[in-house]
Symmetry: C2
Subunit: 207 residues, 2 copies
DNA sequence: TCATTTAACGGAGGGGCCTCCGTTTATCAT
DNA sequence: ATGATAAACGGAGGCCCCTCCGTTAAATGA
């Protein structure tokens, strides 16, 4: 008799049974809408507006995320997970250099999300949330993996440090503020990618 | 032609003509009510409640104090000024030791005000407000003056450091939290005052 | 399949923030 | 005293926060 859980066999530490179908649906919807809202208008956006856009009542939002920070945290975690999942997907379906290029572009979207969330993330950092312990390093690790694949395939030069490149990508974020920010960022990312391709074994003899 | 101000001869740097009578009245009232409200319920008290208690419209409150901090700052400044004024008044009308004793009791009220304002004051400290530059040191200086008077009159011992005593008074504030906080504080202040009288030249030969 | 049990929903409601603007009134020149 | 003129008033209104609770509809087991 070492376990009287009747149905849930995976109830790990946090004893939570799976959400009901509608609950899960609403929750996902809220996170999705919130991500867009936070990215566009900062984390002080009206929660009621988010609920409205997500097509749920305000009460539902508050049950899922009792305080604002909970929603912010969920968005952040979701974004990181999506980024990692995308890397796996791309690695499976595209040529290594194409995968890398596309992922870097996706990173722009991720950064856009973080834009409006900057201050709150800092607050979150100072609280006791295990968020960063879990996610920190995940993105760099993912990115390093993609780069290594491309190097092995000879599609990009081997002498570039992934941390450097990621840093370059991140700094795009703090640099610009204009209205055509997204477009400009995409071009910058392309530029960096070209730099990586330059002088690569399989680059068709380019320099 | 070195000054074309027709009426206001004291328009110093901050070019502000004196408030209209009703405005001045309302402003004072607001600060007074806010002081009590902040002391009792912290600085997050409803501003609408304060306006209501002061008998003015919410619009009036916001014209005088566009942001919450402005009101907090005004309360703090008012409190300090009142404390200094009280010292002058007491020094003029009471025996030096009586003046000192009463002022120390008043200090309890001042501290009570600061109680609810603690966090905001810290924020204010970090902002660019000239508040503290102006008021800092004013209270200690005032207190030192009162003590010196009492020493000169032989009413209290001469070997007590005013900074020490003020520190003792201040620490009463961080020490207790109970419901009978005010009473207890008064007794503690009396105790400190007795300590100062002990062994004084004019203490009637006590020790 | 159908009844039962709850988890989940959602919106009304009470309170607060802040702005805007029509109304009142202190002040001043006549 | 008496307008004329701004300064000051004050509250309605729009938006938001968060809670509470009656209603709805998944999940479950008979």
């Amino acid at each position: 008799m070492a376990g009287s859980q009747t149905k849930q066999q995976a109830r790990k530490t946090t004893d939570a049974r799976p959400l009901r179908a509608d609950a899960r649906r609403n929750r996902d919807r809220l996170v999705e809408v919130a991500a867009a809202a936070f990215a566009q208008s900062g984390v002080d956006t009206s929660l009621e507006a988010i609920a409205r856009q997500a097509g749920v009542g305000i009460g539902t939002l508050y049950r899922h995320f009792p305080v604002r920070e909970a929603l912010i945290e969920a968005v952040y975690r979701h974004e990181v997970e999506a980024l990692v999942a995308a890397a796996e997907e791309l690695a499976r379906t595209k040529a290594p250099d194409e995968a890398l290029a596309e992922w870097m572009q996706r990173f722009v979207g991720y950064i856009a999300t973080k834009r409006g969330m900057r201050d709150s993330l800092r607050l979150l950092l100072e609280s006791k949330s295990p968020l960063f312990a879990e996610t920190s390093g995940l993105v760099p690790r993912t990115f390093t993996g993609l780069m290594e694949n491309a190097v092995k395939a000879g599609k990009i030069r081997a002498d570039a440090d992934s941390a450097d490149v990621l840093h370059a990508l991140s700094s795009i974020y703090s640099a610009s503020d204009g209205p055509d920010w997204q477009q400009r960022s995409r071009r910058l990312v392309s530029l960096i990618m070209d730099g990586l391709r330059y002088n690569a074994p399989e680059s068709g003899g380019q320099r």
